[in-house]
């Protein structure tokens, strides 16, 4: 398989929609219960950006650098293997140059710090990201102002920001955005929910909120548990 084909098979195509090119600053949110695959989907989103030869900043709160790097390596390996990607090693080496991981301790993370860091990176010409994924951001302990600040940051830097959030156990996913993010959905352009499907190797990706273009594939996508790519066979 060629790189181009791989790009097209990525579920993110459906999330970003057609207007992606024009409106690159937008916020996305991936929600799921613990252990379903939020980080995997975020890494997938990041990999997609990397595949398009754009640059990514991965902000990891509470996880170590090595662990985060391992996510990328494993995910890429799986995708390359399943999709039989040609010259995987070469592509891997070339795209990882465009990725930068910033890790914070849980207690040390703040928007101001992150912003300072990003400006530093851009100024030193180290990286100019077009996408940022934020993993481990604690929505339970945050307020609107912080997220509004992140949104301003996204607009100012012409950046896409994707967050992951753990939804509370036992919430009813039928009724809009689950806690702890309920009431914040207006800040996000896209909100998706990952749900494991019992006795199946698929994961449901439910689009709770998205642009009009999204709906052409319906509100539900089936993803492969290993690669987080869309599965056509699993209906």
């Amino acid at each position: 398989m060629l790189k181009q084909e791989l790009i097209e098979k990525n579920p993110i195509r459906h999330l970003k929609g057609e207007s992606d090119a024009k409106e690159s600053s937008r916020m996305g949110l991936v929600m799921a219960r613990a252990g379903v695959g939020k980080t995997a989907l975020l890494v997938q989103i990041a990999l997609d950006t990397l595949m398009n030869d754009k640059q990514v900043v991965h902000v990891s709160v509470g996880q170590s650098l090595d662990k985060t790097k391992l996510w990328y390596d494993d995910m890429f390996k799986d995708i390359a293997e399943v999709c039989k990607l040609d010259n995987a090693g070469e592509i891997h080496d070339s795209i990882m140059h465009n990725r930068m991981i910033i890790t914070f301790n849980e207690s040390k993370f703040s928007r101001a710090k992150l912003e300072e860091r990003l400006h530093d990176l851009v100024q030193q010409n180290v990286i100019k990201p077009s996408c940022m994924v934020v993993d481990g951001f604690d929505f339970g302990k945050t307020d609107r102002a912080v997220l509004e600040g992140m949104r301003d940051l996204a607009n100012a830097m012409n950046l896409q920001i994707w967050f992951s959030a753990v939804c509370d156990e036992g919430t009813d996913s039928q009724a809009g955005v689950p806690a702890p993010c309920a009431g914040m959905e207006d800040l996000f352009n896209t909100v998706v929910l990952l749900q494991p499907v019992a006795q199946s190797d698929c994961i449901d990706l439910k689009i709770i909120k998205g642009s009009a273009a999204v709906s052409k594939c319906g509100k539900l996508l089936k993803l492969d548990t290993r690669t987080f790519m869309i599965r056509e066979d699993c209906k």
């Binding site: 650098l65 930068m100 301790n105 030193q124």
Partner: protein, 691 residues
């Protein structure tokens, strides 16, 4: 037997040039171990006592940590003077391992510098309780308040002053002790006459406020004090007790100040060492039980228990090898026979001495918690001694991998002998210094923690061992590999009268993900006779030694043979070896060979404000930045950088960050070099070949 609660094993560590050695010198003077004061860079040419090595005297820096013993007010204090330079971090770490407490010295002008941050982190790692001493309060621009703020912000210490200076810079008169609420003056030419008086009126308010602050900070460590404070009647003992408790739990850092150079505050610091720093039984030390999978066992510190002692430093003395030992448990006596746990070798304790920098004092026995030196014991630093009845080892010390290497060549035969003697000694003394002979270039390579580190050893070789060496730049070990499959069909034929040579080999070579080399025999029908198949293997292996691109080792190649031909008379072992070599060469260029270079995983640790410039410097060196991690005021930047670009980095990094950043690197993987670099390397190799 000595009362263990009256023993203090302390270290003095800090940033270079904040005056450690001067302070130690003053301590030795006030405790009457020496009778005159010599300055580090003094004009009298004697130099400070602690700087015993010639080189240290010359450069004004302290390299080896000499252990010194002194008495202060019925307490015995063992002092380890530690170097302040980043390149000698292992010395600092080794010293910390055997210490119970430490004095962190800060310059009142420079404040918390990077080395203080590094040292502080190391102290936290080994859980060493510490007191801070703000030195050089006589210097222009002295600002203890600023330093205390930095201690809190940059080091995250709960630092509270227990003294107030009376005047700063030129007119520093003395100190006010906030515990006793008295003013202390240091009279006499050497400040050895202490005069205690009431607090002068102009400092009264300031002192009351500061004392309030101090009581607030420490009352959480003592309920008794808390109650007394509420009632308004805390006693001196209660306050001291609370400070001690807080210090031992590493949750509180008392801050003292003064000027060692101007003889101010040193005696009070010694009092604080006695009062607030732990004795050997106050801290928990752990040994590793080698019989039980290195399980941690707490040492008892009891003089009657089996012996457990750690050799933490070796030195080449006038009378042979001198081994500094800390006893953790049991008693070490003259005439005892002890066993080195690592080697299992028995040795006899011939002489037991207490060290005072260069001079020594013979003693009969050393109790647990003591630091002494042994003569004539063969061991490496980090070895544990027992009486043979105990298979325990003191926890292995954290030894960083060497980051830089150089080739050295002796100038003559005599130097050659001396060099090997010196190298043998250095590798024993210092676990971060390594040496080996490069099999390809036959050069002796030395590696260590930094350019200065190696410089010092080269220098020491010259001075102490009279071994003149020339220092070269090391070669990066490149490799070659192929990127695609290629076929070959090669006939080796030679008929020049007599028995000829004939062999035809056909097959392919292909890249292999893991492993260096694999030989595959797919011959069917005996087109190559059995006995010549190993010859083909041998032939291929010969080719792997030197690739045709830059003459580097070829790895990751699978060689397969699937056809061939032989001649009843002319085929031979050598003929098939040559045929295989011809075949390999034929296919090699078709298989798109590439040059691979070692890629190092580099971690740079530095203050956050330098993050941008550090990343810029890594980028310049073809580095791929993986990410950053923030810890307090420190940031760790991880990157993968080609080894060939890392030479001279320590110097660059130091100048880029005012010496505040450190880096470590380790081998990660081999990766193809970029085209432009490859062309350069090939051109270089061709030039070399022509010569």
């Amino acid at each position: 037997m000595k009362d263990l609660s009256k023993v203090r094993n302390i270290g003095i560590s800090a940033h270079i040039d904040s005056g450690k050695t001067t302070l130690t010198e003053r301590i030795l003077f006030y405790t009457q171990r020496i009778h005159a004061i010599h300055e580090v860079r003094g004009k009298d040419g004697v130099g400070a006592k602690m700087d015993s090595m010639e080189l240290e005297r010359e450069r004004g820096i302290t390299i080896c940590s000499a252990a010194t013993y002194c008495d202060w007010k019925d307490h015995s204090i063992n002092i380890i003077d530690t170097p302040g330079h980043v390149d000698f971090t292992i010395e600092v770490e080794r010293a910390l391992r055997v210490l119970d407490g430490a004095v962190l010295i800060l310059c009142s002008v420079g404040g918390v510098q990077s080395q203080s941050i590094t040292v502080n982190r190391q102290m936290t790692r080994y859980r060493v309780p510490r007191v801070a001493f703000i030195n050089k309060c006589d210097r222009t621009g002295a600002n203890p308040e600023k330093v205390i703020k930095q201690l809190r912000e940059k080091l995250g210490l709960n630092a509270v002053p227990i003294q107030v200076p009376m005047g700063l810079e030129g007119d520093m008169q003395g100190l006010i002790d906030l515990v006793k609420m008295k003013a202390v003056y240091f009279d006499g030419e050497n400040g050895d006459k202490i005069r205690i008086e009431d607090i002068p009126a102009q400092y009264k308010d300031e002192c009351d406020a500061k004392r309030e602050e101090l009581l607030d900070a420490i009352s959480m460590f003592s309920d008794e004090l808390m109650e007394a404070v509420l009632e308004g009647s805390p006693t001196e003992e209660m306050i001291m007790d609370a400070i001690r408790k807080g210090t031992l739990s590493l949750e509180f850092t008392p801050v003292m100040m003064g000027s060692a150079y101007k003889n101010k505050g040193v005696q009070l610091l010694l009092d604080a060492v006695n009062d607030y720093l732990p004795c050997p039984t106050d801290v928990d030390n752990f040994a590793l039980d080698l019989d039980h999978d290195e399980a941690e066992v707490k040492v008892t510190n009891q003089p009657g228990d089996p012996l457990l002692a750690l050799a933490f430093k070796l030195e080449d003395g006038r009378y042979g090898q001198l081994t500094y030992v800390r006893t953790y448990q049991g008693t070490l006596k003259k005439g005892d026979s002890i066993v080195n746990v690592r080697t299992g070798k028995k040795a006899k304790v011939g002489r037991l001495v207490r060290m005072h920098s260069d001079e020594m004092e013979e003693i009969e026995e050393s109790g647990s918690g003591d630091i002494v030196a042994l003569f004539g014991i063969d061991c490496a630093s980090g070895d544990t001694f027992t009486r043979g009845d105990y298979n325990f080892s003191m926890s292995s010390m954290h030894v960083p991998e060497p980051v830089i290497s150089l080739s050295i060549t002796p100038v003559d035969n005599k130097a050659q002998d001396n060099m090997s003697k010196a190298l043998n000694r250095f590798t024993k003394e210092d676990p971060t210094f390594k040496t080996y002979v490069d099999q390809e270039t036959l050069e002796t390579i030395i590696s260590g923690m930094g350019e200065l580190h190696l410089d010092v050893y080269v220098e020491r070789m010259k001075r102490e061992y009279k071994a003149e060496v020339t220092v070269g730049a090391p070669q990066v070990a490149y490799r070659e590999t192929i990127t695609q499959r290629a076929e070959f069909n090669y006939t080796h034929k030679k008929q020049t009268g007599g028995s000829g040579q004939f062999g035809r080999v056909a097959g392919y070579i292909e890249p292999m993900e893991e492993g260096e080399y694999e030989f595959v025999d797919q011959i069917v029908g005996g087109s190559i006779p059995r006995e010549y198949i190993p010859s083909c293997d041998k032939g291929f292996q010969k080719c792997l030694e030197k690739g045709s691109l830059v003459g580097a080792h070829v790895t990751g190649v699978r060689c397969a043979i699937n056809d061939g031909a032989s001649h009843a008379v002319d085929s031979s072992d050598i003929a098939f070896q040559l045929a295989a070599m011809g075949g390999f060469k034929e296919a090699y260029m078709k298989a798109k060979p590439v040059i691979m270079e070692p890629i190092m995983k580099v971690a740079v640790e530095g203050p956050t404000e330098f993050q941008g410039s550090i990343m810029g410097s890594l980028n310049q060196r073809r580095g791929m930045i993986i990410g950053t991690n923030e810890e307090d005021a420190y940031t760790v930047i991880e990157a993968e950088v080609p080894l060939s670009e890392m030479f001279g980095y320590s110097t660059d990094l130091r100048s880029l960050t005012q010496g505040k950043a450190e880096f470590t690197m380790e081998f990660a993987t081999y990766r193809p070099v970029p085209k432009s670099v490859a062309e350069e390397l090939i051109a270089k190799a061709q030039k070399k070949d022509k010569k």
